[in-house]
Amino acid sequence: MLEVAGLEVRYGAIRAVREVSLRVEAGELVALLGANGAGKSSTLMCIAGALRASAGSIRLAGEDVTSTSPEGMVRRGVATVPEARNVFPDLTVAENLRLGAYIRRHDRSAVAEQRDKMLALFPRLAERSSQPAGTLSGGEQQMLVIARAMMSQPSILLLDEPSLGLAPTIVDQIFEMIQALRSSGLTILLVEQNAAKALAVADRAYVMRLGRIARKGSAGEIRAATDLHSLYLGG
């Protein structure tokens, strides 16, 4: 469904992502692992349309989307949750969700239905529906941004480091929800530093190091690989 070939992303003269090729089939949850600075987020942001690719191609269901804008990717069914939990702090939870459904805004009933589904999946959000998003805790904000991305009813979800900065129990809850989304048939590309958690929910994984793909395989294969530590810590 999603095919990335030979991707390169530059920040000025620095190549943060080099010759990255990966594949995500429909219904899969693929994890993109690696240490800080390995280029995972840059790869994801490039696929999402927020960063420009200096080389390589991105294909979605056969269509070339390498230079598609972020808005365009959303219209094609790719929703992104960047790291850093970008809720709009002054907008309420409800307004955040409503904005997530922007591309579907004309179909009021479908939007309302999706919103109810999301609030059922994330009950804590339902409680805080008219509160400004900036007053939510970190875990609640993470739930909000995932729910908000789901409001556009995407076929693929790009998730960037959902566990970052959250307490372990909250992380468990988040991953339970990711599992629930996966079970509903959603295709997910998950960038994570927390390899254990990611591999527990993933079908396949890629490990990145210094901008390149260093290892790929099924989740089981990657979990068993002993040089995961060295890949993370250098050497």
Partner: protein, 296 residues
Amino acid sequence: MRFTIQFVVDVLSLGGAYALMALGLVIVFGILRLVNFAYGELIMVAGYTMFLVSGSGLPWLVMAAVAVVMAIFAGIATDYVAFRPVRAKSVTAVLITSFAFSTLLQNAALLFISPRPRVVPLPEIFSETVQIGGVITPLRNIITIITAVVLLALFAFLMRRTVLGIAMRAAATNFTMARMLGVPANLIISSAFAISGLLAGIVGLLWIGRIGTVVPGIGLEPLLVAFIATVIGGMRSLTGAVLGGFVLAFIDTGLNYSLPQELLKFRDAFTFSLVIMILLVRPEGLMRGPASGQRT
């Protein structure tokens, strides 16, 4: 009692006008973080449109509508000419391009129409007077107050209730994130400029209605008002801009009433000094704008 009513009417009508001027400026600044120096020229465009269509024999409201539409076009044109080409480059670049565009428009009016004042048609009700509690005041002041209240209410409704408004508020906080939800960036920006033009057009007609003529430099005073009101109110807050407009009107009217005759011509210097003192105490303005970060 009469004095109070007079004062209140003056402050409210001037404040309403100032608030609208400030709002038209902030709506672009809030989203783009860019100052539109050509904002005053939107009022100039409205004025000259009225002058140019004055011979057409159309009813005044129709001519006014045409003038406001032209102001909207001019607003959107400002985006395409002065902002889009340099938006990504730097903040200073946009300041200068919009300043250059402002000079361009003024000189175009100078060159193609005239440097001398041109008469603008006004509806008769503008010159009528009305009596409130023993005070006689031009009906135009009351119209200004009502227009300001209506427009501000409409604006608040737009921002709070409609998807476009929510999208604009989101874009003001985090433009990229809004795009990643599918919000089309260009539409948001054009809408901001269009609303800016709408507000400028309407308040421009009311403003020109006080003098009845238009000159190329007519946008300067409203621009300055918008600037100062915005700075007082807090640069990116919409409510702040409105509040700043009323505070400025209060200061101006207060000075008008209290300065001795020979100092009255220096009123603007006094206003500015008072504004500087406000800024000394509160450099960030009266109201905080939308937050720019998150909690964790």
